[in-house]
């Protein structure tokens, strides 16, 4: 998730039918610049090279999010895409029913300064959570919740850090020097 304000200008994004590094592209209406979703910066047009400000998010189940934030609001659109329901989620296995896609290599990606890490969910599941470690000189805690099908990271004061749940191959395309964490 990105902030839309960029250098005093508010951008409005649309979806583009093209990819770079097999990743989604978006285009802003104001300058028609092309932006990479995972890289978080413009890769073409007048704003090429400009980074977007990331906003930390949690990707988790509705039950888990609602339990943490009972006063949450929820976006509703008329149009629906495919539903992603991980009823039988098990890290390290491939789902076979609705929302079928290979989750065996999904994990939490974290990049601070020049230090990037990837934490496969299948490894976090068997680890004693939360994990405390040092990333780019900062104390970071990695959390995992099996029922919420999620992982997230907080800093020393408990604030949510910018992370993304991604496929390992996708993360390593953008952060090839990333350390992949194992138990």
């Amino acid at each position: 998730m990105y902030a839309r304000r960029q250098g005093g200008q508010e951008l409005t994004f649309d979806f583009a039918s093209g990819l770079v590094d097999n990743n989604l592209l978006i285009v802003d209406r104001e300058t028609e610049s092309v932006w990479s979703q995972l890289a978080g910066q413009s890769i073409g047009g007048p704003m090429e090279g400009t980074p977007l400000e990331s906003i930390p998010t949690m990707q988790t189940t509705w039950k888990f999010w609602r339990g943490k934030h009972p006063d949450t609001r929820v976006m509703v659109l008329e149009r629906e895409g495919r539903r992603y329901v991980y009823q039988d989620f098990e890290p390290g296995t491939r789902r076979s029913s609705e929302g079928d896609h290979d989750v065996s290599t999904v994990g939490l990606g974290l990049a601070l300064g020049n230090d990037s890490r990837f934490f496969p969910l299948r490894e976090l599941e068997g680890a004693k959570a939360p994990l405390s470690l040092d990333v780019d000189g900062q104390s970071v805690t990695i959390h995992f919740d099996a029922e919420g099908l999620t992982a997230w990271a907080t800093d020393a004061s408990g604030e949510l850090l910018m992370t993304v749940l991604a496929y390992e191959s996708g993360w390593l395309t953008f952060f090839p020097d990333s350390q992949v964490w194992t138990r």
Binding site: F15, L19, Q37, T61, W62, R66, T72, Y84, Y86
Partner: protein
Amino acid sequence: MNSARLPKIPLLVLLLAIVAGPAAAQDGQERTVRARVQPRPGAPVEMMEMQVHEVPVNPESVAAAAADLEDTEIVLGVMIDGLPMAYPIRYLAAVEVVNDVVGDTSLAPTW
């Protein structure tokens, strides 16, 4: 050359592109932008007229109690100035990105 087998790979790639791709094509206005991009997953980058599909601005939201979601479906959650907001992937998957405002922050969740 086995002409019976050759079409299989492009067809599979095409199907993958349809599954992974632009559900948003039916939504709003379309325009094109010229850019060096891949036309489909796994393809090499080429200069092309890329289709751009308009997505929602300031979408509707409801309270948790009014949300018709399954417990186990995936949402993207964010907390802005103490205001929690959830973006169900079932909707983001249809449009890939939306333009929203939470509190005083204009933001764009993507999928």
